[in-house]
Structure formats: structure tokens, C-alpha cells
């Protein structure tokens, strides 16, 4: 049972949401759909922060198909995250390898995708604890595709989790599915922690489909149980992911991000901070093809400039906590 592991009775909230003792920044990049540029955004943020302040560790937690190493121009690695999960290497810190970028280390994703995708709960919790205790100033996690519990939990341990979408219906549909899964996950963890057993049973029937079910579920709690409503309100208020609109082609795509944030606030009862749009640039593809980090090749392009602006906004967000 999740509550047996994610709550130990000593914390004031589920263990997943406790803040690391040392002051550090943890960002996680996700969004549900493959091909939206999550790994590109994650690697660019990592390269940028490494050049500004050093001491950055990136973790490829894409349990289905890791490729962050390719974007960081790491061609070979003798260890990866799977070695820690299997117990071959005792600590996550020892699996971090240097990259061609000064100040940036990488915990490479595992090629053993069947093993990693079915990561059991105990091992995942051990991994989460090790991530929180890594001795590094900044951690950036690429959480990969899908909305499985494993993916969601890596996204939720960050502050903020960064949702990457592209201006296409498929991407937006998957992003909403991902967000709804995050909300249900957070609510369930809190309800289990605070032993709201009736609500836990209720949520399973109530919140699986459209936005209306989420709002009506929340409204029902507000009407009937003000105490529980306050607790769940706190949980959702802290969730507050950031949104990046990637591959934007025009002003309409830029504004689309703002509209999505408005829709999410009204219908999914969470705040979504729109931190900016990244213009489409065909040269990104060429850089990936030739193992060259884009941000280094074209530091003054509109795409690179927008990533710097986004990083600035994310840093302001992180400093609030």
C-alpha cells in the first residue's frame, strides 16, 4: 500500500512532498506526450545553469526510452540509473558521470527499459530519497513520457514540475491527461496520509473522466467537509506546475500557453504558471543529429534567448520556496 511507504507517521505531509534538508533546486520536465521536446528543454536548462553557476546534476528518469545523454553529447557510459536500482552501485551519486559540459553531471537512463518501466514501489521510493539527498546545487530530472505512477512521482517531487507542450491537439490532450493524473495522485496521497478513507473510495469512482468530475468532486468536499477541503486545498495550491510552450511558430502559439493556464485554473483547480514559449528552430534537429548541444552552437538565437528567459522565471519561482 502506498501509505505504508510514502508516509511514515513522523512527517506532516506525505514523504514525496517533504523538502530536502539542504537548500537545492529540483526541476522536473514532463508532459505526457513523446516528441514535444522535453529532453531538449531539460538539456538546455541544464547546460544553461551549468554555465551560470556550475554544480548541476541531470537525471534521465525516462523509464521507457532514455535519450538525454544524446542531447548532452555523451556517447558512452559505463554506468546508469539501472545500476543503482538493481543494487549493483550502492548510491545514486556514484552513477553520475561527467559530460562534455563543464559543471554538469548526468545520471544516465537505463537501457534495460522493461526492468526500469516496471520499477517497483520500494525501489522507486529509495530512488526518490537518493535524488533528494544528492550533494549538488541543482537537479534537473527528465521524467519522460506517459502518466504512470512512477513518472508522476518524479514530476511531483520537483518544485516546480515543468510541463512541456507543443501547439498541437495531441500534445495538449496528453498534457491535460498528465495534469489530471498528477492531481488525482496528489489528492490520493494526501487523503491516504490523513486517513480520509471514504474520500479515497469516492475519488476512484468520481475522478477518472472529464474535468467536470474533478470540479464536482472538489465542490462536494467543500460543501460537506470543510476540514478536508482545507487540507486538499493546501496540497493542490503547492502543486503549481510551470508550463512551457515549445516549438511555437507565431504569436497565436505564444498566447495559447496563456489560454491553457486559464483553462487549467478554471477547470482543473490548480495554478499553472506559464513561463514562456520557445520558438521553433529547424537547427535543433541538426544539432541532435550531430551530437552538438544547441545552446552552445546558437547561443544568440531567439530559441536560446527564450530558454534563458524561461530559466530566469523558473529560478524566481524556485527562490520562493
Amino acid at each position: 500500500m502506498h501509505q505504508d511507504i510514502l508516509t511514515d507517521g513522523r512527517e506532516e505531509k506525505p514523504a514525496l512532498f517533504t523538502v530536502p534538508k539542504e537548500r537545492k533546486t529540483i526541476w522536473a520536465v514532463g508532459g505526457g506526450k513523446g516528441g514535444t521536446g522535453k529532453s531538449f528543454i531539460a538539456s538546455s536548462l541544464g547546460i544553461l545553469l551549468a554555465s551560470e553557476q556550475g554544480d548541476v546534476t541531470m537525471i534521465d528518469a525516462d523509464l521507457g526510452g532514455p535519450n538525454l545523454h544524446t542531447l548532452l553529447a555523451v556517447r558512452e557510459a559505463d554506468r546508469d540509473i539501472g545500476d543503482f536500482v538493481s543494487g549493483k552501485i550502492p548510491s545514486l551519486r556514484e552513477t553520475a558521470i561527467p559530460t562534455p559540459i563543464a559543471g554538469l553531471k548526468l545520471v544516465k537512463g537505463s537501457e534495460n527499459f522493461l526492468f526500469m518501466a516496471n520499477l517497483n514501489h520500494l525501489k522507486k521510493l529509495k530512488l526518490i530519497r537518493q535524488i533528494k539527498s544528492l550533494e549538488t546545487r541543482t537537479i534537473i530530472i527528465d521524467v519522460g513520457t506517459g502518466s504512470s505512477f512512477n513518472t508522476l512521482d518524479f514530476f511531483l517531487l520537483a518544485n516546480p514540475g515543468i510541463l512541456v507542450v507543443t501547439p498541437e491537439p495531441t500534445s495538449i490532450e496528453n498534457a491535460y491527461h498528465f495534469l489530471k493524473s498528477c492531481i488525482v495522485r496528489v489528492l490520493k496521497l494526501y487523503m491516504e496520509f490523513y486517513k480520509m478513507q471514504d474520500l479515497v473510495r469516492h475519488i476512484a469512482d468520481h475522478m477518472e473522466n472529464n474535468s467536470n468530475s474533478i470540479r464536482s468532486f472538489i465542490n462536494a468536499i467543500v460543501s460537506h467537509d470543510a476540514g478536508s477541503a482545507h487540507l486538499l486545498y493546501k496540497a493542490l495550491k503547492v502543486l503549481r506546475p510551470a508550463l512551457v510552450m515549445n516549438k511555437a511558430r507565431d504569436e497565436r502559439d505564444v498566447l495559447l500557453g496563456r489560454s491553457i493556464a486559464d483553462v487549467v485554473r478554471k477547470y482543473l483547480v490548480v495554478e499553472l504558471d506559464y513561463v514562456g514559449a520557445v520558438p521553433q528552430d529547424e537547427r535543433v534537429h541538426d544539432c541532435v543529429k550531430y551530437f552538438k548541444p544547441y545552446l552552445r552552437e546558437y547561443p544568440d538565437s531567439p530559441t536560446s534567448r527564450s530558454i534563458r528567459e524561461i530559466a530566469g522565471r523558473l529560478k524566481s519561482r524556485s527562490s520562493l520556496y
Binding site: 491537439p169 495538449i172 472529464n210 474535468s211 470540479r215 498566447l255 489560454s259 483553462v263 477547470y267 482543473l268
Partner: protein
């Protein structure tokens, strides 16, 4: 439950919240916000794709029309503002006048400020200096 703003029901949101604009939004800002929201919640709107039921979509579009019709027209907005002022303590009824009407700015100023300004201008004129203090940008 007004102390939990995130949990506020859509039907309980006021026109400003529906259009996602500040209380002192100008007419241009209201129009831009309306157009953006309209395109978001329209049947073909990408921003709401896959998330809203047909009923939710009809409801929000009707609310947007009502909000725009009310706030975009001066007299309707004044009447509406009077009604919601009690529910929005942060409300500044005159905020949007200040940018457009010098007369109301003067009415708002307290007596001390007016007297001091007049004395200062008189001294400047007496000394033959040009009064560099231009009126606020209305």
C-alpha cells in the same frame, strides 16, 4: 467558500475572474481578453481541446459573452461594479478613471496636496522659473 480561491465554482466567479483581467482593466484590455478567451473556449479552441464537456463549453461561452457585454459598456460596468464591490474588498472603483479623467484625479487629491501644489506653482511663477511639474500622464 471564499477563502479558498482555487476552489471557487465557475458559476460563482465574477466577470473579471471569468475574463481573467484585473479590476482596473481598460476597454482595450477587456476586448483583448474576451477575444483570447473566446478563441480558447470555442468549439475549435486548442486550449480547451479534450478537456471540456459540451455542456461546460456552452456555459463558459455564455459567461464570456455576458462578462464582455457588461464590462465593455461603460454604464453597465459602473452598475455591475457597484454590485460586486462588497464581495471584492480589493476593489478600487475609481481606478480606471484616473488614467482618463483629470478632473477626478483632482477630486481625489486631498486638500493639503492641492494647497501645497498651488503654493509651489505660485513661488515658481514669482521667481520666474518654469514650473517643471507637468500634470500626471492621463
Amino acid at each position: 467558500m471564499s477563502q479558498l480561491p482555487l476552489f471557487k465554482k465557475i458559476e460563482d466567479m465574477d466577470h473579471y475572474e471569468i475574463l481573467n483581467i484585473p479590476l482596473d482593466a481598460t476597454a482595450d484590455e477587456i476586448e483583448s481578453a474576451y477575444k483570447l478567451a473566446r478563441s480558447a473556449y470555442d468549439e475549435n479552441g486548442l486550449a480547451s481541446y479534450s478537456l471540456l464537456s459540451p455542456e461546460e463549453r456552452r456555459e463558459i461561452l455564455a459567461r464570456l459573452e455576458e462578462a464582455f457585454e457588461t464590462l465593455y459598456h461603460f454604464e453597465k460596468r459602473i452598475a455591475y461594479d457597484k454590485n460586486i464591490v462588497a464581495a471584492r474588498p480589493e476593489f478600487r472603483q475609481r481606478a480606471y478613471f484616473r488614467k482618463s479623467t483629470a478632473r477626478i484625479e483632482i477630486d481625489d487629491a486631498d486638500g493639503t496636496h492641492l494647497l501645497f501644489g498651488r503654493l509651489k506653482s505660485a513661488i515658481h511663477r514669482f521667481l520666474g522659473k518654469k514650473d517643471r511639474e507637468e500634470p500626471a500622464d492621463f
